[in-house]
Each structure stands twice: as C-alpha cells, then as structure tokens.
Amino acid sequence: MALEDTTRSKSDSGPSLLNAIAAWPVRVLFTILDVPLRGLQRLLGIRAMPYVFILPNLAFFGLFVVVPLFINFAFSVTGGTNLYLDDRPFVGLEQYGFLFDCGNYLDPTTCREDRFWRGVFNTFTFVFFQVSLIVLFSLITALILNREIRGRGFFRAAFFFPVLLSPVVVALIWKWILLRDGVLNAFLVSMGLDPVLYFVSPTWSMFWAIFVSVWAHMGFYTLILLAGLQAIPPDLYEAAEMDGTKRERVFFRITLPLLWPNMLVVIVLALIKAVQIFDEVFVLTGGGPGTATQFIVQYIYTTGFSNQVQNFGLAAAASVVLGVVLFVLTLLQLAASRRKDEA
C-alpha cells in the first residue's frame, strides 16, 4: 500500500510540474497585459471592456469581409475593364439590368446573359438534389453509426475522412475514376460492357457532380446528426420499448422530433454550402458538357477572371445577387440555431 502511494505521488508530480512550466509564459503574458488593460478599464469603464476584447476579431472581420462586400458592390455599379475603382466609369444599375434582361425567366435562351440564368437553374437543380440526398444519407449513416455495431469507431472515421480532403483532391480522384480510361470504365470493360463517357452526357455529369459532392461532405453532417442522436435521453427509448411501440413509431415520434433542431441546422448549412459550389465541380467537369454543370460561382469566376475582357462589374453584380441569396439562407440558419437552443 505504501509502495502504491509513493508511485502515485511520483506520477502526479510529473504532470503538475509540466503544467506549471507550460503555464509560466501565460502568467508572464497576463502580468504584462494586466497593467495596460486595467488602465484601459479605468479610462473606458468596465462596460466597454467586452468590446475591447472582441475588437481584434472585429477588425479582421471588417477588413476581410465587410470592406470587400462594399468594394464588391461599388464594382457592380461600374463598367469597363480597369481594375481600380477610380478608373472605372459609374454605370448605375446597368450591370444588374443586363443580368435580369430576360424575355422569359424560365427559358435562359431568351435572356441577354443566358449563361447566368443557366448557372442559376443548374445551381437550383444541384442544390435541390444535393441537399436532399446529403440530409437523407447523413441521417441514415448517423442512425447506423449510433447503434452498437462492430467496428463503429472505424466506420465513424471512414465516413468523416473525405471531409478532411481538399475539394481539388476529391475531384481529381473521382476524375481519375470516371474518365474514358478510368477505373470505373476499366471495370465495365472487364465485365464485357462498353465504356461510358460520363463527362459528355449532361445528365451523367450532373449526377456525378452531385454524387461526389454528397460523398465528400456527408461525413460532416453525419457528425452533427450523430451528436444530436446521442443527446436524446435513452430512457425515452426504454419507455417506448416497455410499451411495445413499433420501431417506425419510435423513429417518427421520438427520434425525428428530438433530432429536428439538428436536422434544421444540417439543412441550412448544406444549403449555404451547396449554393456556393464551385471548386470540386470545376475540377471534375469543368462546368461541362456545354454549360450543364456550370454553376453561379463559376459564372462569376469566368466573367471576372478567365475571359480576355475581364468584366469585373458584371461579375460583381452577379456576386451581389448570390450574396443576397446567401444572406437569406444565413438568416434561416440563425433562426434554426435559435430554435435548436430553445429546444
């Protein structure tokens, strides 16, 4: 017993010494900061201090988010190809007028800027299918991973792994699989079937754009739903079991209602991300065939940067339109988060 005590005290003294060493620079920093902060508090009053603490973050946010937003808007009311605002002529809302000049909004071929509208329709299609599928598969995966299955830890890691990959890497891997001489076609040929040219068909291209995006991102949403599932009190399930409630009824009456706040967050987050889709699909399909997988962000990029005449004004106007859509979605997300907190 005595030996045991000695061992414990030895092992305890190690981490505490390490902690003390690690804490030392922090203490020094606090001591240094203490004097000016106390002075500042005396000067501004204690009520102003929270603002002082968030000021560095606010400054970064302002500099890299708010200021660019205003600059972008300023660009959207100018024309020409000069880079600096001073050199660009003011054109009012002309760029917006150009974007929205349509004979029939449901038929992009009647619009002056048909590519913008095709981008809008493609984005809408992508968002509808991608978000629906991502919510569905994330939910199914979370439900399975929440059960006592063998290798649960491995599967949780495996489903989350693609989230860690760069979108470009994801797209390149799938491109390698899907090209004419790719792995999938090699498999089809080995089975005696004809190879399929996936990137030549608009339907297949959209299918793979959605599939790859779901594959790459569902791990993140699965994790959110898994956390929600684990927060549901187990005694509710036990009570249901004692009452002999059917599985479907348990799912629809207990799991889904209690998981709904998390689901709402997942839906809104997935919506925001899907509307911004660009990099992985651009690398995977290049926006083609034709403009079948060209989304709004690619339209903005092409208009502003990859054409010989770099039409920053038109690209900025399209960005403002996209910004408005994202703003609405963000409001939805805030409302959803509030509802979750209340729940």
Binding site: T81, T109, D114, F199, V200, G290, V309
Partner: protein, 428 residues
Amino acid sequence: MKNRLHMTLAMGVAALGLMAGNALAETELRMTWYNDGIEGEVMRGILDKFEADNPDIKVTLDVVPYKAILESLPVQLAAGEGPDIARVTDLGGLSKYYMDLTPYISDPAYWEENFGPFLKWLRQPGDTSSISGFMTQLTVTGPYVNKTLFEQAEVEMPGEGATWDDWAKASKEVADKLDIPIPMAWDRSGHRVAGPAISMGAKMFDADGEPALVDDGLKLMATKLYDWHQDGTMAKELWGSVSGSQYLGANEDFANAKVVMYMSGSWQIPQFADTIGDAFDWWAVPAPCGPAACTGMPGGASLVALKTSKHPEEVGKLMDYLSSEEVLGEFYGKTLFIPGHLGLASKGVDFATDDPRAKHALSTFSSAVPSISPIAFDLQGYVNNRVMFNALISRLGEAIVGELTLDQAFDRMTQDVEQQIAEKKRGG
C-alpha cells in the same frame, strides 16, 4: 587557440560583409514563364550564362502553368504587380502593359530588321515604333496524323490540296477499320478553328476593319465541326466536355495512338519527339484546303518586357542578350521551335534532333509560313482576337452538346463579341 578563434570570427564577418555587399549590388529580374516542352530548361541554361557574364544581375525564372499566363498574369499586370519580363501568347491583348525597350537596347535597327513583322503584333493600335519583345517561338497551326495507323488500315493518306472533308473521311475510315476511339481531334481553341475557317472563306473583319466573326465562311467551317461531332468523326470529349472557353488539347490521346488525325500546331513537335519518339510515325501534314485558302493560323509566344519593371536598363541588357542571333539560334535549335527571327529563318537553324518525324514536321510547318493567309496575320495581330476566339469556341461547344442550335450559337457569338468589345471600350 584564442588567436585562431579570433581569426575565424574575423573571416566569418568579412565573408558576411562581402555577401551583403554582393546582395546589395545585385539586381534581381523576375521572368514569368510557361513550358510546352523543354524550353524552360534551355532558357535556364542560357540565363546561367548571362548571369555568369553579368554577376550584378540575377534572373529568376518563375515557371507557371499556361493557364496562369492567360488568367492570373493579366490581373497581376492590371494591379501593377507584374514581373519584369514574361512569356505571353495573348500578344496584342496585353500590349498596354508592355515596356518600350527602344531607349534600353543597344541596336533597335537589329530588332526591326529581324523581328519587324512580329513587333507589330505587340503594339497598341496606332503605335508604329515601339519595341517590346521578341518571339520565343513562331507557331503555325496544322494537323498531325498517325501515319502508322493509315498504313496498318491500308488507307491512302490524302495528298496535296486535300480538303478537310477528304481528311475527315479518311481518318474515319482508318478509325473504323482499326477500332481507334477518336478519328479526328482538334484542340478546343478558337485559334485552331480560325485557320480552317479562313480557308473556307471567313473574312473575320468587315470593310472598316471592325471584327465580324460570323460570316458564310465561318458558318461553313463551324457547321462541319458540328456535323463531325454528331457523326462520330470527332469525339465530344474535347469540345463537349467542358464549358466556356476552356482550352483542352488532345496531345496525350494522340501520343497514346487513340487519335488518327490531330489538329494542333508546330509547338507540339518537341513534345511528340520526346513522348512518342519512334513508337509510331507521327506525321505533320500541310493545312487542308477550303475554297478560299489552305491556311493555318500563325501565332506564337513572345518574351516581352513589362512596364511594371523597376529595372528597365537591366531588362534591356538581358533582352539584348537573349535576342542575339547566337543565343536565339541555340534556343530555337535545342527547343525545336520554328524561329521567329528573320535572319535565322533564312539561314536555317541547326535543330538538335535526328528524329526524321520531328525534322519532317519542322520542315512542313516552316514551309507553311509563306502560304498563311493575310487575314490570318491580321487576326493574329488584332488586340481583341481572344474575344473572338472565345466567343467562337464557347458558343460552338454549346451547340455541339445541344444547348443551342447552330443559328442560335452564331447569333450569340456576334452578341458576345459586341458586348465584350463595348465593355472594353468603356474603360480599359
């Protein structure tokens, strides 16, 4: 011991002082460069020699992807943050950023004499005298064929004066006989289509010299391209698989013997010599004919001095060195590029290859230069030519995949060109 330590310290301080002195005296020039083949290595070797002769100048070669030359460099230049020198292909489009080297080069007459016809490609409209750079390569667009496949299929290669239809038919026959996936492939590039369109009678400009992309000649060529994609002569993987004006080449498919005929240009020679070698007979053939001409498009890459440079004198010195007949002869010879130096073109360049295919290709493309249509030269020198090329390629691509009818595509081409040029005129 103490003395030795002092001595070592003193020597160390002296060495540091010398290094700092050198660093202070050294001017660093940055050259933005892209590679089609081995030209980056060749240029680095030449720059090393220049640095040895001029120890006060260090030249950093920033090798970037070609896409960065087309998309990032213009933004850099517009922001005033460009390099000292760059290798560019949008010769006229970037001309407002070029430095006039005339005060900084030793013999402007030499430049006029040897680069005269190409200097005007680098000038702004109305400018008749500035000297901004020289051609690192003159290129001519034209087709390559896999001669071995023709021989294996026992199909005769169309001879001199053959039309695009003759070649399309023959290539399809070879592909069908040997089960080759792609009978004919063209780079997805407006520049590649322009030559054949001019052969079909496209004028590209109206009587006032304003751009007029869509006319009967262009429609004829575009319709052929459209039809070939529908009947399987051309695979939709290139023209139909991406959007907008994105460039796609079929060089790798051709090198892997998956293409019978490949429309590209002379810049592929060093790459094919390297990657294909003698695996099969890759053969450059003269530009097929149309009712108006048998022409390809001239073009190329130019090394230009940029206004953003803070060291114009050193840039002038370097450009003088690089443009000298001796240095350029070495560069063209090792890279297998068609010379953009008139003196060397007439004397002939000693190309560093024994490959009969490469030699034949070099000879084919070099001899095509005199037959290039004047319209093609004008188009190449036109500052907004990429606006026309991009409109052509993006709208034709949309027609090929069925998003637009051909007539709708032609209307959109005209609108795109008008809208973009109007935007440019508004300020830029």
